[in-house]
Structures are given as C-alpha cells and as structure tokens.
C-alpha cells in the first residue's frame, strides 16, 4: 500500500497539533478547543482504522509491516540517531484501539468536564496524552518509545494533578510521576545496553526493535556479562522495570490507586485503557529479550502476585473508582502473567479487551459519580455505601456496567473470557507441567479470577441494586436521559466487549466455535510471538526513508493461516487443548462462583459482609492499608531513610564541609593572618622598628640625665671617669 508520511504521521501529529493550537485557544474559545480535540482524535482514528483495515482485511499476513525511518540527528558518521515508525499487526491493533477508545473517552469528557472551568485545558492535556500513546504505538525504536512514554508520564502528572486547588491531587501526581520514574530510568539504562550491543554487532548503534531482534538472533547478547549478571537478563530486567513502573506491577503498584484523584475520564484513558497498557506493550515488544534473559518465570511471579494482591485489595474498597483502580492493577497483572507464561498474543488480546471494557467501566462510574451530587459538600459522591438502587435512575449506565463486569469477570461470550481464559489456560499448562515453579502463579491466577468476579459484582450490586442507602442523594439524582456524549460512548464500548470480535471461538482457542465465524481466529493468526524461533524473518525487514512511498514489490506477504496446533506436535497440541478446555470450564465455574458469592452477600444478604470483616479484622485492616506498601514507601523509605539521608547530606554539605572545612579554612587563614599581623606588630614594628627609635630615646634619656646642666654633676663624672681611667692605668 502506498503509505507516505502524510498518511501515517498525522496519527500522532493531529492530536499533537490540537494540543499546540489548543494551548493558544483554550482561554478564549474553550468549546471550540474541546471540539477541535475530539475532531483531531477522530481524524487519528480514521487514519488508524485505515491502517488497521489494510493490515487485517487486505493483507491478513502476520509478516506485513511498514517501517519508515528518518534521521533525527547525527554526530558524524559513527553516530546516527534514527527515529521512525514501525507498524506491524500489533501496532495496527493498538493504534485503532487507542484512537478509538481515546476518541470515545474524549467524547465522554465533553460531557463529564463540560461545566468545569478549565475544561479546555483538560481537553488539550488529554489530546497530548493521546498523541503520546499513539506515538508509543507507532514508534519503531526504543528511544522514540521512551520519549513518548515520558510524554505520557508528564500528561499523567498534569492530569492527575488537574484539580490543583486541592492538596491530594498534588500528592497523587507526584507519587505517580516519581514511581513511574523509577521504572523509567531502568528503561533508559536498558536503552543504553541495547545501543551498546547493536553497536558491537552492527558497528552502528540502533534502538530499533527490528535491529534488537536481529541482534538477539545473531547472538549479540550471548556470553556478555554486566556486573556479574548476564547482559540479556540485565537488559530484560531493565525493560521489565519500565513495565513494572508504568503498568503498576508489584512492587511499584502504589501510584495507580492514588491516580484516581484525577477526573474520571483521565482515569479511564490513562490509568485503565492506555497508558498502563503501554507497560505491557513494552514487555511484549522486548519479549525476546525477556526470553533469552530467562526472566519469564520472574515475570510470571510478578504478574500473578500483582493480579492476586490487587484483587484482594479491591475486595475492601468502598470507593467505586478505587475498586476499578485495583481491578486495573489486577488485570494488568493478568497481562504480565500472560507474558510470563509465554502466551504472547493472549496477553496482547487481554490488553485490547481490557482497554475496551475498563474504559467503559470507568466511564460508567464517571457517569454515576457525575450524577450523584452532594448538596451538603457541593462535591460528587464516589462512596458506594451511599449508593444503591441506581439501576432505575440510570438504565444505560447500569446496562453498560453490568455487561462490562460480565466481561471482566470472564463470563463466556464476552471478551474478558476469551482473553483471560487463554492466559489462565497457559498458566494451567505450565502449572501442571512444572508445579514446583508455576504452581503458585497458576493458583494465584485462578484465585484472582474468582476474586475479580466477586468484587466486580459486589460493586454492581452495591451501586445499582438493593435499596438506596442515602435517600437524599438518591432523590436528587436525575433520571438518565440518553445523550450522545454521555451514553453513546458507553454503549459503543459495550458492543465491543462481546467476545466474537476478537475470536471466532468461545475460548479464543478455536475450540468452541461461534456459528458462522469459523476460522476467524484473526487475532491469534496475525499476532506472532517473536520468540527465538521466529526472529529470523526480521533479517529481511528493511526500512524506507521517511519521504518514500512504501512499496515492497519484491517481497510478497503470504496470507497467514490459523494453525490450531501452534507448531506443536499432534499429541502435544491435543494435550494442550484438553487442558485449555478444562481450564476454560474451570474459569467459567469460577466466574459464576464469584458472581454467586457476591449475590449471596449483597442481594440475598445470606452472608453478612460485616461478619467477615469483624472475623478477619486483621486481614481487613491489612487490605484497607494496601498491605502497608504506602506506609513502607512513604513513611519508612522516604521519610525515615531518604529524608534523613538527604538532610544528613545537606547538613554535611553546609554544616560540616562548608562551615568547618571551607569557612574553617578561611578561619585558619584568618587566624594565621591575625598572628602574622601580631608578629608584624610586635616583633617587626614594635620591637625592631619602634625599638630602634625607642633605644635612641632610651639612651637619650640616659644621656639627658647626664646632661643635666648641673655643672657639678659633670665634674663628678669627669673625676669618676678620670679616676677610673687612672686607677686602672698600669703605671710603671
């Protein structure tokens, strides 16, 4: 296809230009700015959709790609820094997801933030953020990736701290930026390693993914050590630290719940649908490095711990957004778990499906929150204990939220089931094969799935069903009427929570097929894991310069076909399918069990939540306090260690080094000069110089005493002298 700069670059540039123009028009024309931003993102969506349709409908080839580079700057022939775009199937899907979901969220934001006095500036930040995420998706190299990644970090900072009149958003934004920053610097170090290795192998450093894959295939990392750790492990760990930071994995998950301080569409766009997904996307992009660095087990554990830990924390939240925030962390944990167990495209699929339904959930919660206005505090209500029975008031929102909750819980026919089940299925295979290593992550994964179903429906039941617990609030809540920017985005997103969009079969494994959509496992077919065996194809990948039209006549891209055996032998494939089916059945059971438990507890009230809380109050407190991570980081690591240490250093600097050594040295010199001055005064001046004068004066005094003018005294002297002369004279 004839891709030129004009058909690709605007995907990023449109929202970016909307940001630039908007920053000048925001003050004067807020409405216009909001519309312009939406239009710009819709433009990105159209261009992305074109690419997507091209990739999926026309080519349908896992090998099809577009790679364009341009020289950013060079420092002589030995150092050229290229930026560029790289679109393969994964980027194409991510692009369409980000721009599509992003557009819907923007649309919703025009409703949610419409009355806010800083509506326009909110919209342009969102626009810049979307540009950043699209840049991440388009970037052909790790440096560009990193740059857009950081731009997203900045936008996240600005948007979390959007309500800067209050104190809490300030803390939350600082925490978010700093926590992700820790991951980012490791990411940066990973970049350095990649640059160095590519320089060693190719003689020309590069950050491009393709070059990275080629270098891995060429064994560029083999046998290299860094600080006693294999270089590949080190590099993989660095990139995975980026994931941990950005995707809020254990142990850096602390920032994401606080990030809910931002307006709700922000939470939907940044902290659920896209930005946090960028971390997982990074892990997927550097998957070969994780593989040759033997990090997958580690990744599995991190994912499983995160998924389970966040799910448990979500159990006790009373804030509707907090439940969703922890659920996000938990789902991200599932994705990372998927990466860890090697189910590359399931992880990516979960990224996409999760983005859709989590965006929808957040927007729905935004819809709920926006409707509930507390006339006493003049603020919106987010606390679930004050809700209840809202289904009657908000039928559309309720519908969207229930459907999305079904999807996230892993109920069949919904997207969450398709993607999550595949991850759990692979975890099950690994767990059964190697229970000593993968047993625990598998177990935690299933447990987290159970908890997910439970807490999601706990939220649904508490919010929409039962009796309204705050009657006044309920009465003030307006009945929802359909509006294009409030309900339309929810409903559109709801449509895409259905499983068949993503897979032609119920489980996503081509096993239980939907009627009429046989062999449409496009997701699995097109996303090919770049593991050790599949790296060879990247050697043929070439990049065009920026301005040229993308034509690859000499290379043909055969249409890909779904391989049900996934390259395994017949027996192995059968074994895997058997386990997957049993896993699917298990997870269906688990999902319904979770929903049923929630039903028992919050609708039937046959299980009393209060009894559980009082019985396990220690656990309850632990969960309420987020396993004391915040306490540990802020109160102990930062306040007790870092602050003390920095105060100590500053004290050493000014109190010891400057005051004692530098000023002390001045003092020493001062003292020395004081004593030399004293010496000068006393010895040189007083004694030597004045002393000469004084001695003259002294003898003057003596002689003057003799020169008394008394003649008789002279005679005495004369005679005494004469006598002494004569008496000593030796006269013969």
């Amino acid at each position: 296809m004839d891709y030129t700069v004009a058909s690709i670059a605007p995907i990023v540039l449109l929202p970016f230009l909307a940001f630039v123009i908007g920053s000048f028009t925001a003050k004067k024309f807020p409405k216009f700015t909001g519309i312009m931003v939406c239009v710009a993102i819709f433009g990105s969506f159209l261009l992305s959709a074109r690419i997507f349709s091209d990739f999926v409908f026309n080519k349908f080839s896992a090998d099809y790609y577009i790679h364009k580079t341009f020289l950013w700057f060079d420092l002589g022939p030995a150092f050229k820094l290229n930026l560029g775009i790289y679109i393969d199937q994964m980027s194409a899907m991510l692009l369409v997801m980000v721009s599509g979901v992003g557009f819907l969220i923007h649309l919703f934001a025009t409703y949610y933030m419409g009355e806010d006095k800083r509506y326009a500036s909110y919209m342009i930040y969102m626009s810049l953020f979307t540009a950043g995420m699209l840049g991440v998706a388009l970037s052909d190299n790790l440096l560009g990736f990193f740059m857009f990644w950081e731009v997203m970090g900045f936008c996240s900072y600005s948007l979390i701290g959007f309500y800067f009149e209050r104190e809490a958003p300030g803390d939350a934004s600082l925490k978010a930026f700093m926590t992700t920053r820790i991951g980012d610097v490791f990411f940066l170090f990973g970049l350095l390693i990649v640059w160095n290795v590519t320089t060693q192998v190719n003689g020309q450093g590069s950050f491009a993914f393709v070059d990275l894959y080629n270098v891995i295939a060429a064994g560029g990392f083999d046998g290299q050590m860094l600080l006693g750790i294999p270089l590949a492990t080190f590099a993989g760990l660095c990139f995975f630290m980026g994931t941990i930071g950005k995707s809020a994995q254990f142990p850096l998950q602390v920032w994401l719940p606080d990030a809910m301080q931002g307006p709700t569409p922000t939470s939907a766009l940044i902290h659920a649908a896209t930005m946090v997904a960028a971390g997982v996307y990074l892990s997927l992009r550097v998957y070969p490095l994780l593989e040759i660095g033997h990090l997958l087990t580690f990744v599995t554990y991190i994912g499983a711990i995160t998924a389970f830990g966040a799910a448990t924390m979500a159990l006790v939240q009373t804030d509707i957004k907090a439940v969703l925030a922890y659920s996000t962390i938990s789902q991200l944990g599932f994705m990372v778990l998927g990466v860890g167990v090697g189910n590359y495209n399931a992880a990516f699929m979960h990224l996409i499906t999760h983005a859709v339904f989590k965006a929808c959930l957040f927007l729905s919660s935004g819809s709920v929150i926006h409707s509930l206005h507390d006339h006493h505090t003049h603020g919106h209500v987010q606390e679930m204990p004050r809700m209840g029975g809202l289904a009657k008031k908000m039928p559309y929102t309720c519908f969207a939220m229930v459907v999305c909750s079904l999807a996230i819980s892993g109920v069949p026919f919904f997207s969450g089931f398709v993607s999550k089940d595949r991850i759990l299925g692979d975890a099950l295979i690994h767990g059964l094969e190697n229970p000593m290593v993968y047993g625990l992550p598998m177990f935690l994964g299933f447990l987290a799935a159970l908890l997910t179903a439970f807490y999601m429906f706990r939220m649904i039941f508490l919010t929409f069903y039962g009796e309204p617990r705050d009657k006044e609030l309920y009465d003030h809540c307006h009945t929802e009427t359909f509006s294009f920017n409030r309900n339309l985005p929810l409903l559109i997103l709801t449509v895409f929570t259905l499983g068949f969009w993503y897979s032609g079969s119920l489980t996503g494994q081509g096993l239980v097929k939907f009627p009429g959509v046989e062999n449409k496992e496009w997701f699995q077919t097109l996303i090919e894991k770049p593991d050790d065996k599949h790296l060879a194809k990247f050697e043929t990948y070439t990049s065009q310069t920026w301005g040229k039209v993308d034509i690859k006549p000499e290379v043909t891209f055969p249409k890909s076909h779904y391989d049900p055996t996934h390259g395994l032998s017949e027996a192995d494939a059968h074994h895997a399918h058997t386990i997957h089916v049993s896993g699917a059945i298990g997870s269906i059971f688990i999902a319904f069990l979770g929903i049923f438990l929630a039903y028992l507890m919050y609708i039937r009230k046959s299980l009393n939540p209060g009894w559980w809380v009082s019985t396990f109050s220690g656990w309850y407190q632990t969960l309420k306090n987020k396993y004391y991570f915040d306490h540990f980081y802020i109160d102990i690591l930062i306040k007790k260690v870092l602050f003390k240490f920095q105060d100590f250093v500053a004290w050493v600097d000014m109190g010891i080094w400057d005051r004692i050594f530098i000023d002390g040295w001045a003092k020493v010199n001062d003292t020395f000069s004081y004593w030399t001055r004293k010496f000068d005064d006393i010895v040189i001046d007083t004694i030597a110089v004045d002393g000469t004068g004084a001695s003259v004066r002294f003898f003057n005094l003596v002689l003057r005493t003799f020169q008394s003018g008394k003649i008789q005294f002279y005679f005495v002297v004369i005679f005494v002298v004469l006598a002494s002369y004569l008496l000593t004279l030796k006269v013969v």
Partner: protein
C-alpha cells in the same frame, strides 16, 4: 567578517563605558541603552552563527583574529571560535539580552549595575573566544570583578559574605591556573621550540615526557599541571568538594546575576576542560579519566541529595546546577563522541533551563520578597500558586520539566547522549547515574508540589500573574527549550565536527 569577533567582544565593553555618560536620573535611558547594546551583540552573535562553517573542525579561520600584543613575551591578541565555543558565545549573547530585560526590577544604582553587567558580558565573551592563554587568563580574571560587585552591591541580605566567598574561591582556582599557564609557557620552549601562550600550538600532548622536580620529588609535569588546571576549572564548574561558593553566591545574587552565573559562568569551567585541559594534556586526561567520571557521578547524586533537603528555592536550583553540571562532567570524562557532544549540548541546555528557573524565581521573588518553600518557622512559604498564577505556572512547568530531562524538552537529549557516551567506558557509573535522574525529578517535583498545589495561602493572594515584559523575555527561552528538545540539530550540527575532532585527537593518546 574578520572584525566580527572584535565587535562582539568589545561592544559590551564600549557600552559599559558609554553608559557612564548617561545622567543617572535617566533610568529609562540607561535601561534601554543597555538593552540596545545587548541586542546588537546578540544580533552579531546570530550573524556569527549564520556564518559558521559546520564542516571545519577546529578554529574557524574566517573569523580568527591574531594581533601581536606584548611581543617580547610572545603574547598575542588571538581570538577564534570553533564548534565548542560558538554555542557558548551565542547563549551568552542571548542570556544577557534577557537579563537586561529582567533587570528592570532592580531598585538602586542603575548605571553602575548595567555598566557592570555589560562588562561581565564582554569578559565572558573574551573567555570563550580567546585562544591565547594570557588573554584567556586576563578575561577570566576581569570577569571576577563585575561579578564581585554585582553580588556584593545588589545582592541579598548576606551579600558581602557571598561575594567575598565567591571571589576568593574562584581566585584561588585562577591562581593555580596561572601557575599552570606560566609553567606551560616556559616548558613550551623545550618541547615546541619557542615560549608561547598560544593554546592551539600547545595542544596535542607535547608535555608527556617532561618531569618536574618539586619538593625533592620527581613528578610528571603533565599530571601535576593537569591537576592544577583541574582545580582551577573544577571550582568554576563546580565539582563537588569545591562547590560551596555556589549556593551562597546564587542565593545572594540578584536574579540576572544568578541567571548569568548558572547559565554561562559555570560553563566556563567545563569549557576549560574541553579547550585547555584535555587537548593540552591528553595523556593525563586518560590517566585521570576514572577519577573524573566518579567525581561527575558524585556531583550528580550529591547535588541532587543536597537539593532535596533545601527549603530555599534558589538554593535548591543552585544545587540542581551542581547536579546537572555533573552530567557535563560525566560526558567529558567518557571521552566518547556521544558523551562529549552530550556534554557540550548539556552545557547549552542547562544554560537555557536553569536560566528559566532563575528568571522564574526572580519573577516570584519580585512579588513575594522571600524564597522559602518552607519558612524557617515551618510554615508554607508558597501554596496554590497554580491557582493564583496560571500562566506563570505553565512557564514554570516547562522550565521544571526541561530541567529534569523530560523527552521533548531540551534537557533530555543531552542527558541521553551523556548516558550513551558514559555507558561503554563506565557502565557502573551509568547505572548509578540513574539515581541522579530519579532524585532530579524528585526534588524538582517535590518543590513544585509544595509551592503550586493546594489552596492559595494568604500571603500568596496578592501575587499577580506574569506581566507582558516578563512574558516577553520568558517566551524565547520557552520556545528554545521546546524547539531544541524536538529538533536539536541546529546546535548539534555546529558542534559535532569540532567535538568529533577533539575526540579523535584524544583517542590517539588512549592508553
């Protein structure tokens, strides 16, 4: 073209003299005259930039000036620029233009102030342009004088202490440098055939085999004088054990002087490394490379930690300068193309971002008359500035994020280049340097959070947002910071040939 450097160098001095003839009551005339002089100088700098030939490595012959000065000692009036000095010359022109605008706030003795400011500009130009050691030293010393008075007269409440400390500290360094210069002068006869102060002739590692007898010890000549030059330049940079003049000077200096101090003056130290220490003593540069790299690392982390503990904004930014100059040192110590380019670019970018920060603090100080994030009584010094001064806050955010190295703003590219450069020779240092990046974000954002978020505290309710004049001089910096963050080529193209030559020259002496 030949006279261009002369014009750039002497125009500020001329202005400094002419301004004395304006009656001191005519404050407006004094201000606008100095603006005119700096603007003219800046225009000349731009002409210089446009006439610069990127392909020539080393000194540009077209602009060089060589005139005999003191013939009997082989002292020449020799000016010239290359890719390393041009960015510095240009940013000097720019920052002084901005500083004259920002100095409209000063309250007393306008004539002397502007005269000294112009004199300072001229002498800094001289440092960056002179290719004769003697001339270099003269300008290096002349620079101290206006600086001393600018801090000592127009500074804060503890200005005399700061000014004297600044003066003595840097003077101590220059004396060591003078010693090295004289030693080089006399040793040049044995190695080069004639006694000379010419930097270009002295370059190239001619002093490797010389020995020096000192206190009965037989010492290598080049290493001893490398250390002396190092101390002289390190005080200017400042490298950590020699840095304590900086917080005092910054805190006490008036805004414009802080800007110049952080924006241009500190770069004289690193410029000295690139122009003098390294080319003249390449063997020693390799020999001491490890130590320099570690010192750079210490600068980065130590400066950041100290900055975190500060409650005075200016002092915080002063320490952040220490931290950022550490990156420059890392880049220089790496001796790689990327690292060196990164270092020079970082010199330029730090000049922009830190100038922004100091100007912004100056604007705030103009309104608040204090600079406490947390007052000594433990109360909030500022709060809710975001609500109170939205435009100011936006500019502040740009400066802040440029300073902490956000991609898309200028600081990132130079820091990334430095890290790419330092990774290969000193991997451990690169890894530890990351702590500096985290801390760098931490102290800046922590400051931002405490000052700008939350409710507007009572003392901040009177503050007005930035006015047109302030906007006018902040805008070019904002633009440059963003533009160079996206497209650094205009600066990199100028420097890369010269820096590349320097790296190649140094690589010849690699052990």
């Amino acid at each position: 073209m030949h006279g261009l450097l002369n014009w750039i160098l002497w125009l500020p001095f001329l202005g400094a003299v002419l301004i004395l003839f304006i009656p001191k009551e005519k404050v407006g005339a004094i201000r606008w005259f100095s603006v005119a002089v700096t603007a003219a100088t800046f225009v000349l700098c731009c002409i210089l930039y446009s006439n610069f030939d990127n392909t020539i490595a080393g000194i540009q012959p077209i602009t060089s000036v060589t005139l005999p000065w003191i013939k009997s000692f082989n002292i020449y009036y020799k000016l010239g620029i290359d890719g390393i000095s041009l960015p510095m010359v240009w940013i000097n022109g720019l920052l002084f233009l901005i500083c004259t605008f920002s100095s409209f706030d000063i309250k007393k003795m306008h004539k002397g102030y502007y005269s000294l400011l112009l004199m300072l500009q001229g002498s800094i130009f001289g440092v960056f342009m002179s290719l004769d050691f003697f001339l270099f030293y003269v300008f290096w010393e002349v620079m101290l004088l206006p600086m001393f008075f600018l801090i000592g007269v127009w500074g804060g409440e503890n200005r005399e202490y700061a000014a004297i400390k600044f003066f003595l500290y840097t003077f101590f360094g220059s004396v060591l440098m003078l010693l090295a210069i004289i030693a080089l002068y006399f040793s040049a006869e044995g190695t080069l055939g004639a006694e000379t102060f010419d930097m270009v002739k002295l370059m190239g590692g001619h002093f490797e085999n010389l020995r020096l007898s000192l206190f009965g010890m037989d010492l290598p000549f080049d290493k001893v004088f490398f250390i002396l030059l190092f101390v002289g330049f390190a005080i200017k940079v400042p490298i950590v054990p020699f840095h304590t003049w900086l917080p005092h000077a910054h805190v006490q200096a008036p805004t414009a002087v802080s800007v110049i101090l952080a924006g241009v003056l500190l770069k004289m130290g690193t410029y000295g490394f690139l122009r003098i220490s390294y080319p003249i003593f390449p063997q020693s540069a390799w020999y001491f490379g490890d130590i320099l790299a570690w010192m750079g690392l210490i600068n980065v982390i130590y400066g950041a930690l100290c900055a975190m503990a500060q409650t005075d904004i200016k002092r915080l930014i002063a320490y952040s300068s220490v931290s950022h100059m550490g990156f420059v040192m890392l880049g220089i110590a790496s001796m790689t193309t990327e690292g060196m380019n990164g270092a020079v670019l970082q010199m330029f970018n730090h000049g922009l971002s830190t100038a922004m920060m100091f100007l912004l603090i100056g604007i705030l100080y103009e309104r608040s008359h204090h600079r406490w994030i947390v007052t000594p009584e433990g109360k909030k010094g500022f709060g809710g500035l975001y609500t109170q001064m939205p435009k100011y806050s936006i500019i502040f955010i740009i400066g802040l994020f440029a300073s902490l190295g956000l991609p898309g703003l200028s600081g990132f590219i130079s820091e990334a280049l430095v890290f790419i450069g330092i990774y290969k020779p000193y991997t451990t240092i690169a890894l530890l340097g990351l702590i500096g990046l985290v801390l760098g974000a931490a102290y800046l954002l922590w400051m931002f959070r405490r000052m700008f978020f939350g409710e507007v505290i009572d003392s901040c309710k009177e503050y007005t947002d930035v006015n047109t004049r302030e906007m006018f001089y902040m805008a070019p910096l904002c633009f440059l910071v963003i533009f160079l963050g996206i497209y650094p080529v205009p600066i990199l193209d100028v420097m890369k040939t010269s820096v590349g030559k320097l790296v190649i020259d140094l690589a010849k002496f690699a052990p």
